[in-house]
Symmetry: C2
Subunit: 165 residues, 2 copies
């Protein structure tokens, strides 16, 4: 996340998307604007439970409306848990890193030429609406906590492993 993104105006953002300013929407959008990393629906539910207490289903519906309104981006992971982040001008599209052990999602800086590269693909087929660049592996924390989070491995193959046929 880009520092300073928290400055996005909640009410103006909702208005621009044509969404009425219900307390639930304000709460969800506030959580997203202040998030350091992309949030899952569960993350949002937790962060919002302090105040008015929102229903789980409502969170999903609000996220769907935000996505349709172009306010947020949705990020898919291998494990079926999706994450959400602001899609405002302070937070342009960038790659993400997903830890397959702790299942956290972190933002990566954009490569210098990434924007242009993405644009080329967009031009090749105007039906493209979103582009996601997704790295996976083990995050630093899980790498050091190796004992607790052992890397899953099958029985060691006879010859080499990971060789293309």
């Amino acid at each position: 996340m880009v520092p300073g993104m928290g400055h996005c105006d909640i009410h103006a953002t909702l208005e621009r998307a044509g969404l009425s300013k219900t307390s639930q929407r304000v709460a969800v959008l506030t959580a997203l604007v202040h998030a350091e990393t992309p949030l899952s629906a569960r993350d949002i539910l937790e962060r919002v439970s302090g105040e008015g207490r929102i229903n789980r289903v409502t969170v999903y519906r609000i996220l769907a409306s935000f996505k349709a309104g172009g306010i947020i981006r949705e990020l898919a992971t291998d494990h079926g848990e999706n994450f959400f982040e602001m899609a405002c001008r302070h937070n342009p599209a960038h790659p993400h890193f997903y830890c397959r052990s702790c299942r956290s999602l972190a933002c990566l800086p954009s490569a210098g030429n990434q924007e242009r590269w993405i644009r080329e693909y967009r031009e090749a087929d105007e039906a493209i609406e979103t582009v996601a660049i997704h790295f996976t592996g083990l995050c630093r924390r899980c790498r050091s906590e190796n004992a607790g989070h052992p890397v899953r491995r099958l029985r060691g193959p006879r010859g080499d492993r990971r060789v293309s046929p």
Copy 2:
């Protein structure tokens, strides 16, 4: 998929990964090697049901072992359904296009500089194990069948839509 990938030797591939050649593994690998596009677990189950009839759970376990052995890649989608494709030398990593309407996944050709670009990111953090580049939108078929697959839209906003705050 790359034409000619079907030439991958099933038995040699399993052997190299240190996996015993059970009839179920051979069937799943055969389906993947001959697939024109990435397959979901359900796709594989369907294609394999002709012969020996494999249990759903077994397919998932076989796919997990193939992935751990570096034989296949797993591709995540927004809707929690994952796809799988060969990771052999005939099928180097490439971007994919996911249709949000019919939920099909298609392969895209690699951009000329993609390999280098990916390598740069890998070097930046050696923990990175996989890289996925994922486009979404509406496929050609769903675009023309617009009547049957209407694009979901919220009530039209007063001002402009999709404007960043």
